[in-house]
């Protein structure tokens, strides 16, 4: 079942059944309550998330200190979309906050474990990185459009 969800996601689409098997073994299905956080900007990255059900809002902090102060919504993610890529890139911190604005079911994968697998399997890694490139660039595009406008009209305390 997880394999079907993975292959329909923006990160793992195009992977063969055999390639998905080891990734499926790393994946765990989690339930998150409305108004809970998958991760917080500035926090140490551990997991990558693929949304199965519900909506997740991606927020950026207005404060120079990540994860504090007023938050601005720069994107809203739904089924099949990925967040938490910082955990795979070995970044020191998450760049945004992922807040569940509905009850959310998500697949969580440990970023370091996935990265190690991709390092050892570059053919699969190449495909996943191509997909991740689309995820990151589309997030940047949405952020570029929504952030300045949101800054002008809405900000809210966390």
């Amino acid at each position: 079942m997880l394999k079907e969800l993975l292959v329909s996601s923006d990160l793992f689409n195009g992977l063969s059944d055999a390639s998905l098997t080891p990734i499926e073994q790393m994946a765990r299905l989690e339930d998150h309550e409305k108004r809970s956080y998958l991760f917080v900007e500035g926090g140490e990255p551990h997991d990558l998330f693929i949304i199965v059900e519900g909506k997740v809002e991606m927020d950026l902090s207005l404060s120079p200190t990540p994860g504090t102060g007023y938050q601005i919504a720069v994107d809203t993610l739904g089924k099949g979309q990925t967040c938490g890529w910082s955990s795979v890139l070995e970044s020191h911190v998450y760049t945004m906050t992922a807040k569940c604005i509905e009850p959310v079911k998500a697949i969580a994968i440990n970023g370091a474990q996935l990265r190690s697998f991709l390092d050892q399997n570059p053919s699969i890694g190449y495909r996943v990185m191509q997909n991740m490139a689309w995820v990151v660039t589309s997030r940047l595009r949405n952020m570029k459009i929504r952030l300045p406008l949101a800054l002008g009209r809405e900000s809210k305390p966390r």
């Binding site: 950026l60 207005l62 120079p64 890529w85 910082s86 890139l89 970044s91 760049t95 945004m96 991709l118 570059p122 053919s123 890694g125 190449y126 990185m129 191509q130 991740m132 490139a133 689309w134 990151v136 660039t137 589309s138 997030r139 940047l140 595009r141 952020m143 570029k144 459009i145 952030l147 300045p148 406008l149 800054l151 002008g152």
Partner: protein, 151 residues
Amino acid sequence: MESIKGALLKSAPFKRLTEEELHQILALCRQHAYSEGDIVFSEGTSAEDLYIITDGIIVMEMKLAVYPGWVQKAMVEVLRHGDAFGWSSVLGSHVYTMTAKAMEPSKVITIDGTYLHRLLDQQPDIGYKVMLGLVEVASSRVWGVKRAVFA
């Protein structure tokens, strides 16, 4: 040739390559020089080349819709030796998302995105390492955009 190799080895897309792999990239490299104030490429134009700086300073600027109908240009990043830019030539929509401008006389390596992509497709070992580095560069721009907006 050594200055090109040094800049590539310092850059995010190519720092993970072996000597042998790097030689295949070197075959795709050309060099260009820009004077202070020159535009390397403009936001919204067709993305053809990936760039690595060997000398000088390049700034990345982006148009931001501060309010509907009011667009402002903001500086997102200041890039130096070994920094990569122009990743849209290899990733995503193949349209440059920012404008690159020389802040002082600068030298850059240019790599045709189509040829590079062909090499990456043919050799996934190289493809994975380079694509990982390009995603790192694109991801780091998230912070740059945030800094630009909140500045």
